[in-house]
């Protein structure tokens, strides 16, 4: 379970998050929606440990452990995965090698045995197939020369292989066509399990047609101003954020 209490964070002394309260029980998928600049990506970065952001108050724990006290890689080992809005390119770094290094680092941290190259490749190939991704994506350099859609799918492939317990998807649907969107949604749906939860940041109802959330939260000006069921997303799609934000003000 992810528990966030009064979380406040700033960048370069500019407050972005101004007291977030949010609980995501195990097994649930929650959507975060909200206008541009409301702090959605900041929330994703703060939860995953990006150092540029200063946490100025509040707490965030995952399954009882204090997330904010951990290094990014320790959070990854604890099961936190961030699907980046703009995935980073690593020139010369082979995708499969990168993923195996990451997976084995996480397995090591959890006291599990490492996978050798053959075992890993078998796993990676079957996941790639399930996500309808060309196998050569594994051989290419991490995100280098990938189209926008390929980068997003590569994030989902990484997620499928690393098997997180808390997935944070930061606008993974942006820039995707309908087919790719469905692949992303299927990828997350496939991970659904009693011990898996996800925080899905999105602008669009579209993704949520395929990836039905248990709860929807609206983030504006660094606070959650409204929460509801899946219907809330449809309402927002129809009426826009302005009214909800105005009501909350």
């Amino acid at each position: 379970m992810l528990e966030i209490r009064g979380l406040a964070a700033s960048i370069n002394d500019k407050p972005i998050l101004k007291g977030i309260d949010l609980t995501v029980p195990e097994g649930e998928i929650h959507a975060i929606m909200g206008p541009n600049g409301s702090g959605k990506s900041t929330l994703a970065y703060v939860l995953s440990g990006r150092e540029e952001f200063d946490v100025t108050g509040g707490s965030a724990s995952f399954n009882g452990v204090d997330l904010l006290a951990m290094e990014p890689e320790e959070r990854a080992a604890a099961g936190v995965f961030l699907a980046f809005q703009a995935p980073i390119e690593l020139p010369g770094v082979n995708n499969a090698n990168f993923l195996r290094t990451a997976l084995n680092a996480i397995r090591r941290a959890r006291g599990e045995s490492e996978l050798d190259a053959v075992q890993f490749l078998k796993l990676a190939r079957s996941e790639a197939k399930r996500l309808a991704m060309p196998e050569d994506m594994l051989k290419r350099n991490v995100n280098v020369g990938f189209s926008g859609g390929e980068k997003k799918r590569n994030e989902v492939l990484q997620m499928a292989i690393l098997r997180p317990r808390l997935a944070i998807l930061d606008e993974t649907d942006s820039g995707l066509d309908i087919d790719a969107l469905k692949i992303v949604a299927d990828g997350v749906n496939a991970l659904r399990a009693p011990d898996f939860s996800a925080l899905v940041i999105t602008h669009h109802q579209r993704l949520l047609d395929h990836l039905v959330p248990d709860r929807v939260h609206v983030l504006a000006h660094g606070r959650i101003i409204r929460s509801g069921g899946p219907d809330l997303a449809r309402e927002l799609e129809k009426s826009g954020y302005a009214q909800v934000v105005a009501e909350a003000a």
Binding site: E71, A76, F81, F84, P91, G92, V93, T101, A102, L103
Partner: protein
């Protein structure tokens, strides 16, 4: 155990933090008095039982050196070297020739053990013939181990000699193959080529000699592990490789040195000669002691390496991974005399803390249709300075010559420097010269991306750096490539955060 596994084991032990090879072997040394003069040169020549022509050659080099000045055009800075305060000859005392393990100083063997030299281990040093089938099935690597100034053991000499390949200490070659040595020694790097080469020519004590006869593909990778041991001993290695028509050889050079506080001078000369259709691939992994984090100690590595592509369609390829030494001054070059000859230079130079590297290459195009490729990757961290300095010269007669140069620099932190100094001289209008250069920093978002996936910060740096160097590392023979990757990570430990 297969060679690769051995190498992996070796490499695993390399990854333990710090400079692992900071030990010193205590064996009796035969040390010449400090200082440099004609008498010392005569002593060296005498100890080596050299013919008169070589002594004359040395004295000529010495006379030239006396009139020369240390070069100061490189972007390196060091206190004045007192050339009279060095020993120019040191030899481990031995009874006769180490023909068996019993005759090799056990201290010496322990040194190799600690170094983890992937020789066929101690048994090979003892001269055990690797005749059994399992042994023969592996890719063999022949090692000429140089301990300070005298080669103590040469392996696989017999297998090689069956193929007609000569691979032996150069001092032996002077005795056994005087005509060959006299024909080629100094023909690529003349005695008065530069200050350090002249010094080397005057006082070189040992090194390797390789001769691959016409049409022979050398049946194994040849490898030399150099090691500097005696305190305040300059080391002046001399390597000469001659590849006759249509032959091929791959030569590996690896270097480690024990830790010490005072700086040590190393001024080697390597000469390569490739005749028609011959190919020489020369790979170096250099991880000599770089000095401590404050810049104290470390090796001064002032090396002259040059290859002559004398024959048509000949090819010389230099690959280097330079992670060690306090100062590196090194420009492995190719003189492309033959028509359609090919020169290549692939380099990774890593500097951390207070290391200084000024390295690059010279591609001298003389032959029609000669081609060269330069790929240089410089990585700077800490307070270090890393300079690529390269010359591409196209002579008027080199019609249709081509060069492609790519120089990339990667900065880690904001206290280090990366410099690119390309010189291009083209005197033939049909020639084509291309130069690309980039400078980048390891971005925060790259590090964060890796760490979010579970990698530690240092593993992330290692991964990014290895990715950056991939174009060069893939040129290395496999055993070396694995070692080089680990070395890169070790060299950059503590450079972030």
């Amino acid at each position: 155990m297969p060679v690769v596994t051995e190498t992996l084991d070796t490499v695993q032990s390399v990854t333990q933090s710090g400079y692992k090879w900071g030990f010193e072997t205590h064996i009796e040394m035969d040390l010449a008095p400090k200082g440099l003069n004609e008498d010392i040169i005569r002593l060296i020549s005498d100890r080596k039982q050299e013919p008169a022509w070589l002594l004359d050659w040395r004295l000529k080099a010495y006379a030239a050196w006396l009139k020369m000045e240390e070069p100061h055009w490189a972007r390196v800075d060091h206190p004045k070297i007192d050339y009279q305060d060095l020993h120019y000859y040191a030899a481990p005392k031995k009874k006769q020739g180490p023909k068996s393990l019993d005759e090799v100083d056990p201290e010496l063997l322990r040194t190799y053990e600690k170094l983890g030299i992937p020789l066929k281990e101690r048994a090979i040093l003892a001269g055990v013939d690797p005749g059994d089938a399992e042994e023969a099935a592996r890719t063999p690597v022949a090692v000429d181990a140089v301990f300070d100034s005298v080669s103590v053991a040469t392996t696989f000499r017999e297998t090689l000699s069956k193929a007609g390949v000569i691979f032996c200490p150069i001092s032996e070659a002077v005795r056994d193959y005087p005509d060959l040595v006299q024909q080629y020694l100094g023909s690529v790097v003349p005695v008065a080529d530069n200050f350090y080469a002249a010094l080397n020519s005057a006082v070189f004590t040992d090194g390797s000699f390789v001769f691959i006869p016409k049409g022979v593909r050398c049946p194994m990778e040849l490898s030399t592990y150099f090691r500097i041991n005696a305190r305040s001993t300059g080391q002046f290695e001399r390597t000469l490789i001659v590849a006759e028509e249509g032959s091929y050889v791959s030569y590996l050079e690896g270097c480690t040195a024990p830790m010490r506080d005072e700086n040590q001078l190393h001024a080697a000369v390597v000469e390569l000669v490739a005749l028609d259709d011959a190919q020489i691939k020369y790979s170096t992994v250099q991880n000599w002691y770089p000095g401590d984090a404050e810049g104290r100690g470390g090796i001064y590595n002032f090396v002259t390496k040059r290859g002559a592509c004398r024959g048509a369609r000949s090819k010389i390829s230099w690959t280097q991974v330079e992670t060690g030494s306090a100062i590196t001054w090194k420009y492995p070059s190719c003189v492309l005399q033959g028509e359609d000859s090919v020169g290549e230079f692939y380099s990774v130079a890593v500097t951390n803390n207070h290391q200084q590297a000024d390295t690059g290459t010279k591609m001298i195009h003389l032959g029609r249709g000669s081609r060269s490729t330069i790929v240089s990757k410089g990585i700077s961290a800490g307070h270090s300075n890393n300079t690529y300095r390269g010359l591409v010269r196209i002579a008027p007669q080199a019609a249709g010559a081509r060069n492609f140069t790519q120089c990339d620099s990667l900065l880690i932190g904001d206290q280090c420097g990366a410099h690119t100094v390309p010189y291009i001289e083209s005197r033939n209008r049909t020639a084509k010269v291309e130069h690309e250069a980039t400078t980048s920093k390891i971005a925060e978002d790259q590090l964060f991306y890796c760490r979010q996936r579970g990698l530690s910060e240092e593993d992330a740096v290692g991964l990014i750096v290895n990715g950056f160097c991939k174009d060069v590392l893939k040129e290395l023979p496999m055993e070396f490539a694995v070692e080089a990757q680990k070395l890169l990570a070790v060299s950059l430990e503590g450079s972030v955060g």
